[in-house]
Symmetry: C2
Subunit: 330 residues, 2 copies
Amino acid sequence: MADIAKAVGVSAMTVSRAFRGDEGVNPQTRARILAKAEELGYVFDATAASLRQNRSGFVAVTVPSINNANFAETVRQLSRGLSRNGLQILLANTEYDPEEEERLIGQLLRRKPEALVLTVGDYTRRTRQMLRATRIPVIEIWDLPAQPIRHVVGFSNTACIGRLVDHLVASGYRDIAFIGGESPRDPRGGQRRRGFVEAMRRHGLDDTRLVPAGTAPVGMAEGAQALGALLDSQPETRAVVCVSDLVAFGVISECQRRGIGIPGDLAVAGFGNYEIGRISVPRLTTIDVHAGSIGSKAADLIVALLRQDSDAAPARIEIQTDLIVRESSA
Amino acid sequence: MADIAKAVGVSAMTVSRAFRGDEGVNPQTRARILAKAEELGYVFDATAASLRQNRSGFVAVTVPSINNANFAETVRQLSRGLSRNGLQILLANTEYDPEEEERLIGQLLRRKPEALVLTVGDYTRRTRQMLRATRIPVIEIWDLPAQPIRHVVGFSNTACIGRLVDHLVASGYRDIAFIGGESPRDPRGGQRRRGFVEAMRRHGLDDTRLVPAGTAPVGMAEGAQALGALLDSQPETRAVVCVSDLVAFGVISECQRRGIGIPGDLAVAGFGNYEIGRISVPRLTTIDVHAGSIGSKAADLIVALLRQDSDAAPARIEIQTDLIVRESSA
DNA sequence: ATGAAAGCGCTAACAG
DNA sequence: CTGTTAGCGCTTTCAT
């Protein structure tokens, strides 16, 4: 910046102002500065600006897995909403591991992010401590925890599964099983499993058909395998709710291999409204959680929180979810 | 840091050394410093350290879409390899848009990353200029461009499709179509389409069965739709190669809806070895590009390049790919 | 519309 | 093993 100042014959301060689009700079001077910067191959140093302004322009985000279409969509929309306001995402993958999450959050905080977005999880003691100590806004997403750290943008995983069960019961199904959600590493899966148990009890039905799907992240292969386990242990089952659409698709494909008709012999429901559920044969009944909307709402919240300097009351933004009934349970 | 220094009764320099695990610090002093830091809720400021050390610890990465299991896996392994060496990823999504890519790269460079990883694309003029001007290592991934910017970690999309065509021809197929790759926004898709045309010519077969799948990113829905178009225009087709497994799955599901047997009536091949191809009925013939390995190899390269201060010769690391023959073409 | 001085929080370099 | 000094590249503040 000093080089440009010297070359153009102004002070560094004027160069700085020119770069930030400050009004009070002579348009001609400004043009000469930008031209010289281009000529010299100058690249603005955001690190120095951050240090001086005490504003990093970063928002730190942790997700359990980036390799998941729904989390990816949340991050995508979050990124969109933030970039419009000059904020950039600093993304970290916890791999569904609370210890790794603790390590990553520690690293992220050193970069002085202006806000921290976390996918709800079972935090370690030290993580909780860091989250309590930090003065930046903390936003938990993808669930509605009973005791949130501070702000929340999410939906009730438990209630969503309840709606699926209600739908199946209303359609006449009684012998219903649930696949997944037993992994201690996936709290959202656990909430869904709990939602299943609660809903079945509410209807006075057998709530013990719980089939494990393995350690998170669980995918299609785990679904296919779990169907085998289900048929072995509970062959009278007539409907199955899965912890995600990916698991449900595994179930569908395994049924096709075994000649089990869906929904004739077995109704299937998933969770998350992934693309596969719209294309599979049969199409999949599921819950649309509007993953993108979680991201954009969180972005809006962050922007609003950063505008006001005073601490706002904890926000609790509930995302609307939709039951989508398709051929797999109709 | 000054506060801690005062509270403990040492200089800021000693605090700094204690934090970086410098050997030459009295273990007792060190312990007292860390305890006091904990007590005061001190968080190290990586921005200030970056500015002073002229090392940001960032590696900038652009991908066309984070919402793609293969790119996500590359980023995941890249992140792993880098974090072991104290480097953090600064990720940006180009959304398959060269203009957006230009904007993002400009933003990323201001953060002074120590290296830049790009998914090969058709760069804008200004992007090329920035890439030429920067002094940090630039690594292109996911293809082997004829004229790389500098370093490359990838594979030949063209050659991979050639292997698929060879396999189909060897299996007796002659009337073969290709779905996808016409989108100007997806250079890798274009390379695959070109690979198809070249391979068909090589075999002296009709190379004009090219079905568009729409603007990138193309997914399952586009595949299902393209199958309809293919049957309308080229009903004598006996095998189809798709630009990705997702498109291929769309084809498979649409065939199932229409009662078209795979591979009896139509053989299908995909690209990328996504999870779906291992679970679908029938299982999908495809090319495994080892997406994760692209990431880990790129990480290794970056670490090696940063260790040496001198400019190394451009690296060209070719990733091994595998033809996986499954039921859809057997 | 522009400039001079000071300083953000850390660490390189040197000294002891 | 510890301390002092200076400065990374920018921007705040105050002055003109």
